[in-house]
């Protein structure tokens, strides 16, 4: 197949390979269906970005892209690349501006039918209790820089210590909500200042909090272990490290763009700016990026707690009746040092996941004990009008994708196109007819985020399922949405 002048070879129905050309160090590999190439990837720069990433010093095996691939900065969104920790580089473009943007899924023991007529009120109260929108702030009191540094070092532990959740929540969060070797001293005062009033805020754009119902179960055993049942009310939270993370990325891109000459790199895109992992710049970025990741986990932890309190108050029920508890929390914008088998040998690599979710298999030491028999939950949100999915990681993901899967739907329309397409429509009415209550800061956000601005996430999830990378457990359907 030839896409925009790039030759792509079919490996199988769900996997395509870009052979090495020019200065590429490894081939590119894209998980996608033929339909995706024909319909959404025809003129997408993202394929070129898969090739660009293949130029990164120390890259191992393949420059990978998940089926939600679309144009990003430096790396494509949906990009995965592992670099040798001794000879390779770390690139902020392989993590993104929203460091540890991620998804958290919490469950309740409520059945949809029992609270159907309370969804409107729940959405109103959630919207009032959780700050949303551009520059949102003030979920909790403004913190001083010492407190922010505690968050950067301790992640979700800060929230638990301050009464926003329980120890069990930590066990059910990727990295237990506190990635090791965070270095708050590598985070600029500017980044800290940007984060001071943003702990516990949702932000804007595609970030959201959803009340969902479990619509369909595909894997009964895994669903039972995760505590999912049909018609159950669950809550999904999608947000990240807010302004603090954006500033960390910005600060280090500045440093690395200017040090490109120092290391003799000649990369095809400035946004791929990078430094050797073991260099001072590389270590500083890693320490700062991990700190921002901890800020994000703490952020989702606080939001979850605020959401639980909203449920308690709105429905006037006790914790025991509500049984609101975390299923799992995953990040989908991060770089992590992990051990993977390369050429038959265990090797430490820096896995960049930029719009990709870790998808570790059953019995992996890094997943919670209660999920060891099934594999790590992979949380894949769709658009606000259709559905989201819960999948689980597999051994094949370890073999093929450095233990990674997709992270979402991916846009098919620009914000401007979505706004144009929304003209003359009453999107709130359309969503209401589908049984979805929505509240957002402004109608513009709803229009920009309209369902058809996104790919059908089921196509994305099916590619990963059929490729055996992450297998489907359940489909979730939104009934209440709050957005910025």
């Amino acid at each position: 197949m030839n896409i925009s002048g790039i030759e792509i070879e079919k490996v199988n129905d769900n996997l395509w390979e870009i052979p090495i050309t020019g200065e590429m160090l490894v081939p590119g590999r894209i998980y996608a269906s033929e339909k995706m190439f024909k319909e959404t990837l025809q003129n997408d720069e993202a394929i070129k970005q898969v090739i660009n990433v293949a130029h990164l010093p120390g890259i191992q095996k393949y420059s990978l892209a998940m089926p939600d691939i679309h144009w990003g900065y430096g790396f494509p969104i949906g990009g995965v690349a592992a670099t040798d920790i001794n000879t390779g580089v770390i690139s902020p473009g392989g993590v993104g501006y929203d460091i540890n943007c991620g998804v958290r899924l919490a469950k309740t023991s409520l059945n949809y039918n029992s609270i159907k007529n309370r969804i409107q009120k729940l959405v109103e109260n959630l919207f009032n209790d959780i700050p949303t929108g551009v520059g949102s702030s003030g979920a909790i009191k403004k913190l001083n820089s010492n407190e922010i540094k505690k968050i950067l070092r301790n992640g979700s532990e800060w929230a638990i210590t301050n009464g926003f959740g329980s120890d069990e929540d930590l066990i059910l969060t990727e990295e237990k909500g506190k990635i090791k070797d965070a270095n708050p001293d590598a985070v600029s005062n500017r980044a800290i200042e940007r984060g001071m009033d943003q702990a516990g805020t949702l932000g804007s754009g595609n970030h959201f909090l959803e009340i969902d119902i479990v619509d369909e179960i595909y894997d009964e055993k895994a669903a039972t272990i995760l505590g999912l049942f049909t018609n159950q009310i669950v809550i999904q939270i999608h947000t990240g490290s807010r302004g603090l993370g954006y500033q960390v990325c910005d600060d280090y891109l500045k440093v690395l763009v200017q040090s490109e000459k120092k290391y003799g790199f000649n990369l095809p895109d400035k946004q791929l700016a990078c430094a050797p992992i073991k260099s001072e710049e590389g270590q500083n970025y890693l320490g700062a990026m991990r700190s921002a990741a901890n800020f994000a986990w703490n952020n989702r932890q606080i939001i979850m707690h605020l959401a639980k309190k909203s449920f308690n108050r709105t429905l006037n029920i006790s914790d025991a009746e509500l049984n609101f508890s975390l299923i799992y929390d995953v990040c989908h914008n991060i770089a992590k040092i992990e051990e993977h088998i390369i050429d038959g040998k265990a090797k430490k690599v820096c896995v960049h996941r930029k719009g990709a979710t870790r998808a570790f298999p059953a019995n992996n030491n890094l997943i919670p004990d209660k999920y060891k028999s099934i594999g790590q939950p992979v949380l894949i949100p769709g658009d606000m009008g259709r559905y989201s999915f819960v999948s689980i990681g597999t051994e094949k993901a370890m073999e093929e994708t450095f233990g990674s899967s997709c992270h979402g739907a991916g846009r098919v329309q620009s914000r401007h196109q979505a706004l144009k397409a929304a003209k003359g429509k009453n999107l709130i009415d359309e969503l209401t007819k589908k049984g979805i209550v929505i509240q957002a800061k402004g109608y513009k956000t709803i229009a920009e985020e309209m369902p058809h601005a996104y790919k059908d996430v089921s196509d994305v999830v099916d590619v990963m399922h059929n490729a055996g990378i992450s297998t489907k457990v359940a489909k979730l359907k939104p009934v209440g949405v709050i957005k910025g």
Binding site: D44, H70, W71, Y73, G74, Y97, D98, G133, V134, G135, R190, E193, R194, G203, S204, G205, G243, Y246, Q247, C249, D250, L253, K254, V257, Q258, D269, K270, Q271, A273, R411, S414, R415, H416, Q417, K444, G484
Partner: protein, 141 residues
């Protein structure tokens, strides 16, 4: 206006031009403000001065716009007019000095359009085409 917003799959892209490097930088500042907010009246309440150095004019431009972004989201301050803007070039470095008049920004009162996460380096390339300096700038939102 010496800038034009163009289609971008996910974010905001703007083509900017100017008769000189200084004019191009000024246009970029106003384009950034239009992308971020929608307020009709401004008050010159205070002034701020900034100095930047960079190995390329593109780096200098990204630094300037990133500073405006930081001032808005962290300091809740937005520029109203650009009082002075001067760019010097030595053999190895560009140097920029700018003085801005501006006002306190109130997110709850003023109309914020988009949260600009960052000014990206993606496709930024300042070129002289005829008598005009031009570049594309992409804001990550």
């Amino acid at each position: 206006m010496p800038y034009k917003f163009i289609e971008h799959p996910a974010d905001i892209a703007v083509e900017v031009d100017g008769n000189s490097l200084e004019e191009l930088f000024k246009s970029a500042c106003y384009a950034w403000r239009e992308a971020a907010m929608n307020i009709s009246s401004f008050n010159k309440e205070s002034s701020k001065k900034f100095i930047f150095n960079g190995t390329t004019s593109e780096i200098l431009l990204i630094e300037l716009l990133s500073e405006l972004n930081f001032q808005l989201y962290s300091k809740k301050w937005v520029f109203v007019t650009i009082q002075n803007l001067a760019i010097d070039k030595t053999d190895s470095e560009y140097h920029l000095e700018i003085e801005l008049f501006g006002q306190t920004f109130h997110p709850e009162i003023h109309n914020m359009k988009e949260e600009i996460k960052a000014i990206t380096y993606h496709q930024v390339k300042i070129e002289k085409v005829g008598n005009l300096y031009k570049t594309l700038i992409v804001f990550d939102v």
